[in-house]
Symmetry: C2
């Protein structure tokens, strides 16, 4: 392979409020997500994985930007943006709320949080939902402002995160339901504490509500976590593949629809109200899907890294069977694994698939998610 590339730092891409603290903690690699630097490694992948699975890790996930809908039509706009039925939405309980375009293709999969009577946040993946939501609000003449508030999540993830966050905030955090949240002041640091995070190891996110206090929040969490062996980490590539978490943009393409990802349970395409993509999604629901988001267990010597681009899949006859979007060696599965879009026809044939990896063709079994 070629030499590694440096990441250019300049004024176009934004820095997280935790960026300087993360660099002091040894940040070694990053990417860009929602026009902001996204930490991806502190140089010791094995330790970072171990902290997440067995201990506790803190992640700068400020890239998980919020899109605020504020005003009399905030709820009406939110209802129009997602096929999920928002009946019964309450302040304090978030919902996973995929967003589709008018063709029924996924364009983001945020968590939706109602933070006050007239304000809703979408905690988004990597696409400009501020533009999508602002265009719809404007074109439909709705009385709602769409903007990005000064809110930046810091995640605390792993089995010991409950102790760390309870020490910081009180034992009430142990009672939060999944996606439950509450506004809280950590000393003079205003946050929303949410039971959430992009792992299946349990954890919380502090939504920092004052970008000038990034260093202070980082330090508070690092200090509280010290007795539990907290250390820095990032959304974990290996764990997310094991857990089958969807990475919008990596696992999806321009035609991806929510039914392919097993998100049918969140799609109320028969609800009375209108929403973007309703007609298309009803047609997709009726027709059924031709591919599904699945796991792969792949033969061969342990992968050293990850794929830099999707790997093509073929079926027993050499025909197209989809693509593997993200692959890794899993310490827990003790095997190479991947998440993949697999054609239903190939799965029905039942003979596994061939993965066209960078260094050759490998046989793989198709398995349900999560893999571990």
């Amino acid at each position: 392979m070629s030499n590694p590339l440096s990441l250019s730092l300049g004024p176009r891409v934004r820095k997280s409020p935790f960026f300087e603290a993360a660099r002091k903690a040894g940040l070694s690699a990053a990417s860009v997500y929602n026009h902001m630097y996204m930490p991806t490694s502190y140089g010791d992948p094995a330790a970072e994985y171990d902290r997440l699975i067995n201990g506790v890790a803190m992640w700068d996930v400020a890239v998980e930007r919020q899109v605020a809908l504020k005003g009399p039509d905030a709820l009406a706009l939110a209802r129009y943006l997602t096929p999920r039925n928002l009946d019964g939405l309450t302040i304090g309980q978030g919902k996973y709320a995929p967003i589709c375009n008018y063709e029924g293709a996924l364009i983001n999969d945020p968590v939706l949080l109602q933070v006050s009577d007239d304000e809703i946040w979408l905690s988004i993946a990597d696409s400009d939902i501020k533009l999508w939501a602002g265009a719809i609000a404007g074109a439909r003449g709705m009385d709602v402002r769409v903007f990005e508030p000064d809110v930046s999540p810091l995640a605390v993830q792993g089995p010991k995160s409950f102790d760390v966050v309870a020490d910081l905030c009180g034992d009430w955090v142990r009672e939060l339901r999944y996606f439950g949240f509450r506004a809280f002041d950590l000393g003079d640091i205003p946050v929303v504490v949410a039971r959430s995070g992009w792992s299946k190891q349990g954890g919380f996110e502090f939504y920092l509500r004052d970008g000038s206090k990034g260093d202070a929040l980082w330090q508070r969490v690092a200090d509280a976590g010290k007795p539990y062996g907290i250390g820095p980490g990032t959304p974990n590539y290996v764990e997310r593949v094991e857990s089958g978490l969807i990475s919008y943009g990596a696992d999806t393409d321009d035609m991806s629809n929510p039914f392919e990802y097993g998100l049918g349970k969140f799609m109320d395409v028969d609800q009375p109200g209108d929403f973007a993509g309703k007609e298309a999604l009803r047609a997709i629901r009726d027709a059924g899907v031709t591919r599904r988001f699945m796991g792969l267990v792949i033969e061969g010597a342990p992968f050293a890294g990850t794929n830099e681009a999707p790997w093509r899949l073929s079926d027993a006859k050499g025909g197209d069977a989809g693509y593997a979007s993200a692959s890794a060696y899993s310490p827990r599965a003790q095997s190479n694994i991947a998440v993949a879009m697999v054609s239903v026809a190939a799965m029905e044939a039942g003979a596994g698939v061939t993965v066209h990896a960078d260094n050759g063709n490998l046989r793989a079994q198709v398995v349900p998610l999560p893999i571990v």
Copy 2:
């Protein structure tokens, strides 16, 4: 400062069709733009600058993605998307067409190209205009498809670019007006040849229309450019500051409006047809602006690099005077320079501004753009 960061390569961010060729040519640093790796350095900034100013350089600018509007309502949608008057638009002649949201804030500043009777491309800066345009088309029930076609620009820039591109395509390219373009087959490589590019040194862009032919196009251009000393380059940080080119996302914020950037001449806010932001932009036009995009000539020892975040400006009394978005040492001006949003009040006071740079406060004169 901290250690440099590596750029993580993974499946979420897309590779340009020219990515492997660029790496073979010695690419050393990159960022991310429109969800795609954007080359930023081949490791020799002085040589890259010199090629652009005095010779010819080739740039992988596939990150300049196209948003296609295709169908019976393509032109109607384009007219609704930009405050620019599109009367007289013709196939073969592009127009700079800023896009604003319903509050009149800039959300992108693409070049618009009508490529056939029912298809228009927006050659965009770094924001998801596909979402903005798709939302408006859907919410207004327009008969037009919005999508990203398989089109990736490769720029050839610098005074000798005319000879290189004429050798490749014929002398007709010398007659193209600025933003003029024509479909062309370079052997079996389908391209659109446009007189355009993000520099003021003259040049062209090959809009590659088949992503599988990136290596082939790169090689054709490198071979044709050999007699003229062509070499690899990237959108040039120093030259763009000298020339005062707008970098959407770096120079703009959530409230930036086109009048602040001297784009009033492109804003036909009194045209009969409706467009997004019309009411807001008329009000902004009537009220006048409170800040302007200007040049700065800054005292002090030559800057070694660039600012990683905007630098605050203050006026003679210490009050807020705006921000410098991008700074550099200019070999041609033989001075430190910057582009900046400067408050009109500070300019009217006439005493210059103070730049709050990373290493201290520096006095600066406010000058018109371009600086060089």
